[in-house]
Symmetry: C2
Amino acid sequence: MSRITGLHVRDIRFPTSREHDGSDAMNPAPDYSAAYVEITTDALDGLVGTGFVFTIGRGNEVQEAAIAALRGHVVGADTEAVLADMGGTWRAMVHDSQLRWLGPEKGVMHMAIGAVVNALWDLRAKRAGQPLWALLADLSPEELVDLVDFRYLTDAITPTEALELFRAAEPHRATRRARLEQQGYQAYTTTPGWLGYDDEKLARLCREAVDEGFEQIKLKVGGDVDEDVRRMGIARATVGPDVRIAIDANQRWDVDEAVTWIERLRPFDIAWVEEPTSPDDILAHAEIARRIAPIPVATGEHMANRVIAKQLIQAGSMSVLQIDATRVAGVNENLAILLLAAKHGVRVCPHAGGVGLCEAVQHLSMFDAVALTGDLDTRCIEFVDHLHEHFVTPVDVHDGRYWPPTAPGAGTEMLADSLDAYAFPDGPAWAVVDTETVPDAVRVA
Amino acid sequence: MSRITGLHVRDIRFPTSREHDGSDAMNPAPDYSAAYVEITTDALDGLVGTGFVFTIGRGNEVQEAAIAALRGHVVGADTEAVLADMGGTWRAMVHDSQLRWLGPEKGVMHMAIGAVVNALWDLRAKRAGQPLWALLADLSPEELVDLVDFRYLTDAITPTEALELFRAAEPHRATRRARLEQQGYQAYTTTPGWLGYDDEKLARLCREAVDEGFEQIKLKVGGDVDEDVRRMGIARATVGPDVRIAIDANQRWDVDEAVTWIERLRPFDIAWVEEPTSPDDILAHAEIARRIAPIPVATGEHMANRVIAKQLIQAGSMSVLQIDATRVAGVNENLAILLLAAKHGVRVCPHAGGVGLCEAVQHLSMFDAVALTGDLDTRCIEFVDHLHEHFVTPVDVHDGRYWPPTAPGAGTEMLADSLDAYAFPDGPAWAVVDTETVPDAVRVA
């Protein structure tokens, strides 16, 4: 028996705004960051559970405070009891009535729970000596259903229906796993498409994406429609007619504006339109989807929780659901969302990129491919080739595919040197920044 | 000319869980709290702008960190420029792309902006020597429209339509203001209805409510249906057939459960059913509203922002919209919501209680009564007779009505003695608490 002895949080920031990496219509100058959590125990194995919330800079310290507020739920607890009952552990945090008021179930406090939940899953997977996707895919249907909180979901899926879905998949797990390990999981790349890149860089990165075996790329749009038409023309001419091109507006438009803008881009054959408007706007997404059909709408990376996911599905707001590893309350809530999508026949193509989002979210898709829908044909995971070098077990993406991780854990652990170098505000990476690019909050404080 | 010299945040908590004040089906033991902000300038008037986010205990320090993260947007700025362009000030904070990622526009970070925005409005009203409601009601239609961010709203209301609403009301402002000052604004009381109270206390508080002139009371429900039927019977027998009784489930149910539960209570003549399910669940609220008609559904105190408000109206999710002074990004966003409701003919009956919510939200309803809908007949503001003694200008509620405040400001300023006494964790009110009632986070830290 062991006890959880510590929950340590760090403010890690990468000064990415210097290079315009990650720039889009709503986020012109992000500094990719992580509020990073380490959970320690007094067990002799010395294993540490790691998780994080991805943010884009200022306010990462708020996220850090929210994670620290969960200390009382974890530190001092019996490690085995916490890890053996991850459904109960999740409920205890999400249903803490005083903390719940701060959302409820959304924003900073909810994402903080996600980081702690994911760190506990990382610890459990490390202790089991399995990568998270395989650990989850080895659980019984009953154990999986117990991980999910069905409150507010029963008008769309019941525990009984969830159990049936997992049971139906159970006999196919072994063959599906073999297929996953043999052919990998389709990736698509956003690397070429950031708004801050010039035409030469756009074309070069498009060419490289095709050469590297990607069958889909994505372009950021929504800054200026004429510019978007021009950039889309360059991209389509570069990749040819057979590579799919998705576009991503990052919440830039109202309904009419979205429809008008997308009409200008329709001739270029659009794989999907991502986040055309507010991530909270279920009805506007549905209206846009209806008016731009048959172009698919994709959304979900900013959906606050499973209740929003449920409604996006119920209202027909999108046909591609984009889960994110650190936006909702961790693995358990993403299982709920995968179940909703499976029941209602919506394909899930996760959002990734940022800091460690690729490393984390691949486990959810691969679990789904083995133990839930088994869909390896119509789904793909976003890939951005950026910042992976800071992780202990970086993703293995080649030939346009994610290859299943084999290392124990959830993929969320960062290298000790990176944690030191990018500590904010005192790490060496920040010491050399000129004052112009230092966030306001730091300058003033 | 003056500069804003400081943004100071305090963690203020009242140990209300000791008395079960404020207990409901989702919040069994709240410690009513405020992340309280003071904005100072170097002007000779010495005026301080005050605002807060209401929370129910644990996590108030997270809210405090979020408010502190906004320091760079305010401190050092030209006071007059900030206050003269409150629309621009609001946009600069809400559209800060790095901070926006933490919501977007929801939860801890969004409420923090609300506290700062409200503190700036308090400062502006104090400088003008006017109560906030009167200050707002004296602005021109053009100035009012400029305060509102119409992003994501134009499928429900455009700036032009908003301008028309304000212009149509303008000729009636003087007569409406006279009427408001003469007859007050209808209040209803939740004081009798908390779940933690015994039958004798319930009946006594119901009697007192009627004696004090309230024409509506509200009971918390959702713990146990047989108990609710019994308590509702006591309340109805005590107040008689002419006093309206609303019920509040505080998000306790899924759709089918809500409908079944409400059917049991229907015989008691229900004024409205409040928060039957998740505050994010626009479609479930709409389904419940359809199935329990003609009993009205009320919701909104936990709606994250104007985009959720818009959809609740568009989907017919409720017929009573309950704005809250500190849940969204302050006065400006509540103006947007009042406009949406006015355009679509939905009545607004604000949520209040907590710490200072009555003091704050009355200004919004009174502004609406003078300069927007002019509705003094079908609307009412929640009232709970609790913790008002800690405010410099507590509400004046008598004869079942709120009476318009006359003191300059937004009503949000707390007494210096109270701020000292209830400072958490070091104030004298907390020093005497036994360890059992100290929040986990404190015990562990």
